[in-house]
């Protein structure tokens, strides 16, 4: 069971490494859109600092959302998804491997790049550690939840926009607690509470989302 997980994790990481340009685009998107905020709202650092936690979180969510589309797409197109479906192992484990690889390629770089954005949006100093912690856990949740949507829409030709309609409502708890973690740290409150709830969501998502995504792949990709 674990071998299915590690095999697909390694495979997807290798594929992402060979298509580095594609893998970098969520990150570039994340940085680029965040520069629109000072241009569109205000370059004043006091007002930017006020909205920085929310902005960074919204951008991270959108960047993850944009890349979720490709989670199963190339496997579906070249037929390897079908091979995976008829293989005699529990489908959820390879799916979890793919999701983990997806997070390592999108969520993790976003987390590592977020201090840079914090600096640009003049995030107060207390916010950095909570921001990185909440982004690391929260983007993993987003990848997991997004995988269900990606599995549901994989066989559709124009699934991308539909996918965002499906998973955006499911993302809302994550963004609430993600930005609450950063906000409460900035306001000088204990920020471990919202972070712990994010962790609980992640635990639930790890347990349930691969199963739901595997079920969705089985039911909808053969049509």
């Amino acid at each position: 069971m674990a071998s299915g997980f590690s095999a697909y994790l390694r495979r997807d990481l290798l594929l992402a490494y060979r298509r580095r340009g594609e893998a970098a685009s969520p990150l570039i998107f994340f940085v680029m859109v965040s520069t629109l905020i000072p241009l569109g709202i205000t370059p004043e650092s006091a007002r930017l600092a006020e909205i920085a936690p929310g902005i960074i979180w919204v951008m991270a969510l959108l960047a993850t959302l944009l890349s979720t589309d490709s989670l199963f797409a190339s496997d579906y197109q070249d037929g390897s998804l079908e091979q995976l479906l008829i293989s005699p192992q529990l489908l959820a484990m390879p799916v979890l491997g793919k999701i983990t690889a997806h997070w390592m390629v999108t969520g993790l770089p976003l987390t590592l790049a977020s201090p840079l954005l914090g600096l640009m949006l003049s995030l107060p100093a207390e916010g950095y550690v909570p921001m990185m912690a909440s982004l690391a856990i929260g983007t993993a949740c987003l990848s997991l939840v997004g995988s269900v949507g990606a599995a549901l829409t994989v066989s559709l030709r124009k699934g991308g926009l539909l996918l965002s309609l499906l998973v955006m409502p499911l993302y809302m708890p994550v963004i609430i607690f993600g930005s609450a973690t950063v906000q409460s740290a900035i306001d000088g409150f204990a920020w471990f509470g919202p972070l712990a709830i994010l962790g609980a969501m992640l635990a639930a998502a790890i347990a349930l989302c691969p199963l739901a995504a595997a079920g969705a792949l089985r039911l909808t990709s053969i049509n």
Binding site: V148, T153, P169, M172, P173, A180, L219
Partner: protein, 257 residues
């Protein structure tokens, strides 16, 4: 139908439910009575609530929109569970009828959720002085509307009914798991933001004179919901079963040899 008799009678109704034809004929018999009941309840409730219930001490007559707002919100929430349960029944027992019920429940629920939001906004203007507030309950109703729209969009995105059924059933179930999480987090988010200037006027106990028409309206809305669900499902049955002989006979009005 021999295989049916082998089953214990307590399960017969369940297997009959799987037959669209049986559902179509039975609901056809029930519909006139149900519609009458819904009309009577809604008529009584509206006249009683809008015309005869006492005015609210603070809000005057504007509170009377409660007689539409609360029942619509009730059914918007209950409708999601009806949709999700129908989807689950379809996934587990592979009943085509329950997928049709699920598909029919989605637009009705979306419209009711919109109605609840709309009447809430209309009510908010005289009471709070604004159409829209990011209140916890309003926000979660808005998210519920998004969930409904997602199920609807997914249903229509697939070419084949089969795949669309299963996909939207899974999405409805995932949404069901998420609804309590969403509600709790929105609640939490709201208390964190602490606006506290405006609160939903939740009188702990309504006066019975106001409450009784509301109860009638809620019952009326339930009946109306069932009628609407039956009508949508019957239309869906005719559409999907159009190749079968019984539908042809029904529509063309003559037995085909």
């Amino acid at each position: 139908m021999n295989w049916l008799t082998n089953w214990s009678p307590s399960w017969q109704w369940f297997h009959r439910l799987g037959s669209p034809r049986w559902f179509y004929q039975t609901t056809g018999r029930w519909l006139p009575w149900l519609s009458l009941l819904a009309l009577a309840l809604l008529g009584t409730g509206l006249v009683w609530g809008l015309g005869f219930a006492p005015q609210d001490a603070k809000q005057g007559n504007s509170f009377r929109i409660i007689y539409l707002h609360v029942p619509a919100s009730f059914l918007a929430l209950a409708g999601y569970y009806i949709m999700a349960i129908a989807g689950a029944v379809g996934l587990i027992w592979k009943m085509k009828l329950s997928y049709m019920v699920m598909k029919s429940a989605a637009p009705i629920g979306a419209v009711l959720t919109f109605l609840a939001l709309f009447t809430g906004a209309v009510w908010g203007k005289p009471t709070w002085g604004t159409y829209w507030v990011w209140d916890a309950r309003i926000t979660s109703m808005l998210i519920l509307l998004f969930l409904y729209l997602g199920v609807l969009a997914l249903q229509y995105a697939f070419q084949s009914n089969e795949a669309g059924n299963k996909a939207s059933a899974i999405l409805a179930l995932v949404g069901t798991v998420n609804i309590p999480i969403i509600y709790k987090s929105v609640d939490w988010w709201y208390t964190l933001h602490q606006p506290a200037t405006i609160k939903l006027t939740s009188a702990p106990s309504m006066h019975p004179d106001m409450f009784q028409p509301l109860l009638v309206m809620i019952l009326g809305f339930y009946c109306f919901y069932v009628v609407a669900l039956f009508l949508f499902t019957r239309a869906e049955i005719l559409r999907r079963e159009r190749k079968t002989t019984w539908v042809k006979e029904l529509v063309l009005g003559e037995p085909q040899s």
